[in-house]
């Protein structure tokens, strides 16, 4: 359940239910669909908690933020899966934009390195 390209990679660690993100993602709208599908497949496995490790995701455009936002919103409605987002203070887009995810899911846990 991994997606690996020249610019970015998304890897799922089944044991810890952690999705590791790496690289720079500035895809054109629909190009995010396979990634959204991957996220949905992982949610369908019904782990009690999912961790999104973004600490190596250096760049993300607003379409990518929307994709993550939609996923978080879905989990918030579902209520059965907890969510932890691991971020890096060194990455500007995370410093600026991750806090908004809490608006979509008040129980969301955010952890800074």
């Amino acid at each position: 359940m991994d997606i690996i390209t020249e610019d970015y990679s998304i890897k799922y660690d089944t044991e810890t239910s952690t999705i590791h993100w790496q690289g720079i993602m500035r895809l054109n709208g629909k190009e995010y669909n396979p990634i959204a599908e991957l996220l949905n497949e992982i949610a369908a496995l019904e782990p009690s908690q999912i961790t999104l490790n973004l600490q190596k995701l250096e760049g993300l455009n607003s379409s990518g933020i929307t994709m993550l936002g939609k996923f978080i919103f879905k989990l918030a409605k579902k209520k059965t899966i907890g969510l932890l987002i691991q971020c890096s203070k060194k990455i500007t887009w995370q410093q600026k934009s991750v806090k908004n995810f809490q608006r979509l899911m008040p129980k969301l846990q955010i952890e800074w390195d």
């Binding site: 054109n28 709208g29 995010y32 669909n33 455009n61 929307t66 994709m67 919103f73 410093q95 979509l104």
Partner: protein, 225 residues
């Protein structure tokens, strides 16, 4: 006809430095060119970084400069993605982006053509963006995107204002330059020759007959530094 929305600073002072990129209208599909958005945004950000006075003994300052660099890269990429997506490719006018550096702030301006039929839709989006509480707007947009299964949420512009603390403004211009009351005066004032003036009038008529319904929209982002 000119229409302004938001904080658009039309009478700019002279900037300390500027850099401008002009892209030709392209026949190559946008998907193939998509990487050029990110490439151009990163270039502008790197270029800007070089213009800053760098002091290795001042890590705080360096940190701030890197934050500005990342911010410009993010914002320029969002602006370029939008401009390329919404540009009217039948327009002969190129897309341009320019970065101006002042002592205490910088501005990014991007211009592209949109079909007249799309103007109202874009303006009503701007009005909604400017009049809704950012937090409400954010949730609304994600909710709608989730419901429609849509991919674009209009979140890019919101993040520029809300997450990066920038001012945002727009200028819509019709290409009917002659309707501007001071158009001939502008040329007299600038001591241009009348021949040149008539040449421009002719050029305008030719352009207008070919593209009667094109509006150029300029988006301006201002950021304190």
């Amino acid at each position: 006809m000119v229409k302004i929305f938001g904080e658009f600073n039309d009478k700019e002072l002279k900037s300390r430095e500027f850099i401008k990129l002009i892209f030709s209208p392209s026949s190559v599909p946008l998907q193939q060119r998509w990487r050029n958005n990110s490439l151009s945004a990163d270039f502008l950000a790197d270029y800007l970084m070089t213009l800053f006075h760098q002091d290795e003994n001042d890590p705080k300052r360096l940190e701030k400069q890197i934050e500005i660099k990342d911010t410009i890269s993010y914002i320029a990429n969002e602006l370029l993605e939008n401009a390329m997506k919404f540009n009217d490719d039948s327009s002969p006018y190129p897309i341009s982006i320019q970065l101006h550096l002042y002592d205490d702030r910088l501005s990014l301006c991007i211009s592209n053509s949109i079909p007249a039929a799309k103007v109202a839709q874009f303006q009503s989006f701007i009005n909604k963006l400017l009049s809704t509480e950012p937090q409400d707007f954010y949730i609304q947009q994600i909710e709608t995107a989730e419901k429609d299964g849509s991919i674009s949420s209009g979140l890019g512009l919101l993040t520029i204002i809300d997450d990066y603390g920038a001012k945002l403004g727009w200028k819509f211009e019709n290409l009917q330059l002659l309707n501007e009351p001071n158009y001939p005066l502008y040329y007299i004032k600038n001591q241009m020759k009348w021949l040149n003036f008539w040449f421009r009038v002719r050029k305008w008529f030719v352009a207008r007959s070919k593209n009667p319904n094109i509006t150029i929209v300029t988006t301006m982002v201002q950021l304190a530094i």
